[in-house]
């Protein structure tokens, strides 16, 4: 369980949010809502541990995140705004390297299967440069299927996806929740997910 207490974050002279508290139990998901520039991405980056909050605490499984950083990072899968893909590499290579950077073994067949399920058949060996925005997004999202994690933190995961892929992503998230995982996401779209908690910034 992830617990957040009295979180305050300032950017420059502006206070993005203050006194924010919530808990995220297993099998639950949170949608973070807010206008552009309200600090949704910053909140996700604070939760992931990329940004230090001015005040407040984050606890994972009852332990302060600063004290169990490695465990928190293993339990966490953060997919940010950017696709985190290298244009010169193929989707397969991108996935393999992204797992390698986290010192996790990469099984070729598992990777291929994940890409297939996200509708990237025949594209596995094409440099990412030749893929469309939606397809790039799907390569990134394929990490959801290959990198085991308890908490998913997804920044605008539905961006650039077509109707079919949107549906599939929702199914993947549902599946993750079924299996005892949890998720936090920012999104402007209606998601077709079962109802979750919602936080407005």
């Amino acid at each position: 369980m992830l617990a957040v207490a009295q979180l305050t974050c300032q950017r420059g002279a502006r206070t993005l949010f203050s006194g924010l508290s919530f808990t995220l139990p297993e099998r639950q998901w949170i949608q973070i809502q807010g206008a552009n520039g309200a600090g949704k991405t910053t909140l996700l980056r604070v939760l992931a541990g990329l940004v230090q909050p001015q005040e407040g605490t984050l606890t994972w499984q009852g332990q302060a995140v600063q004290e169990c950083r490695a465990e928190w990072q293993r339990a966490l899968l953060y997919l940010g705004h950017h696709a985190a893909l290298k244009e010169e590499l193929t989707p397969l290579e991108n996935l393999r390297f992204s797992l390698g950077l986290e010192a996790m073994p990469a099984d070729e067949t598992v990777l291929m299967k994940a890409l297939d399920r996200f509708g990237l058949q025949e594209r596995e060996h094409l440099p990412v440069r030749y893929l469309s925005a939606g397809q790039r997004r799907r390569v990134l999202l394929a990490r959801l299927l290959i990198r085991p994690a308890q908490v998913w933190i997804l920044d605008e995961p539905y961006t650039a996806l077509d109707a079919h892929a949107t549906q599939f992503l929702s199914a993947v998230i549902e599946d993750h929740l079924e299996q005892g995982g949890s998720a936090i996401l920012t999104s402007h779209q209606t998601l077709g997910l079962r109802s979750g908690m919602s936080i407005a910034l």
């Binding site: 950017r11 420059g12 002279a13 502006r14 230090q52």
Partner: protein, 247 residues
């Protein structure tokens, strides 16, 4: 500067430090004027004319204290940087940022007076003497620090990146000085050493020390004033600044 360290821990919050700095500035300004005037008087009128270097040597009363201070200020910057990174205090970053221009100014003053002194001594405005070269590199380090800080918009990142650079710089300064010394002895450059100003008279040392103290007071006054500006700039939206503005 060192005797107020204890206070600065207590006054680590900008809101309490701001008025304290305001009270200290006039004292240090006054002290600076008195000490510098006294030091100059000793330097220009009391100290005897040097047998070898005649009147030209009198520039050391500015040159040497400026050099001392330029090096010392970098160390002070590194000290506040270390504190800032370790304890995440906002004030240390502001102090470091405020110190840098003064440090750069003294480094420049030291180079300039060094050149003025060098012309009659060595017959050239610039010689690749180990000390002058090291001082030049120190000046570059100051410029790098100021350039980095001014290139970063987010004050928090500016503080922390600057702190890291200042610490890396302070670790490197001895290495750089040593290597420049090594390089200089290998190439047998200018041979007039500044340390062996022949048999320095007691009164000369006294003059330099008083000038150094005067420069210190000046540095403290200027840095505190600059810190006050930085505090106001950064805390513009906070409650205590608004309250004070209304008062």
């Amino acid at each position: 500067m060192s005797n107020s360290v204890i206070n600065w821990f207590k006054y680590a919050s900008p809101a309490t430090f701001y008025p304290l700095a305001g009270r200290l500035v006039p004292w240090f300004s006054g002290l600076a004027v008195l000490l510098i005037a006294w030091g100059l008087w000793i330097g220009l009128f009391v100290a005897p004319t040097d047998a070898q270097q005649s009147e030209g040597y009198r520039i050391i009363f500015v040159h040497v204290p400026a050099s001392w201070l330029s090096m010392f200020i970098y160390c002070v910057m590194a000290f506040w940087s270390a504190l800032g990174l370790a304890f995440n205090t906002r004030l240390s970053g502001m102090l470091t940022a405020a110190l840098a221009p003064t440090g750069a100014l003294f480094a420049f003053l030291s180079l300039w007076t060094g050149a003025l002194w060098g012309k009659p001594m060595w017959g050239a405005w610039w010689v690749w003497d180990a000390r002058l070269t090291s001082q030049l590199i120190l000046f570059f380090l100051y410029l790098g620090f100021i350039a980095l800080q001014s290139a970063i918009d987010d004050p928090r990142r500016a503080d922390r990146a600057g702190a890291l650079l200042a610490l890396v710089g302070v670790v490197n300064i001895p290495i750089i000085y040593f290597s420049v010394q090594w390089w200089n002895t290998l190439h047998q450059g200018a041979s007039v050493s500044l340390t062996k100003a022949p048999s320095m008279a007691h009164i000369m040392l006294e003059g330099m020390l008083i000038m150094a103290l005067g420069f210190w007071s000046y540095a403290i006054a200027v840095v505190l004033t600059r810190v006050r500006c930085i505090i106001l700039e950064r805390e513009l939206t906070s409650e205590w600044v608004k309250r004070n503005a209304v008062d």
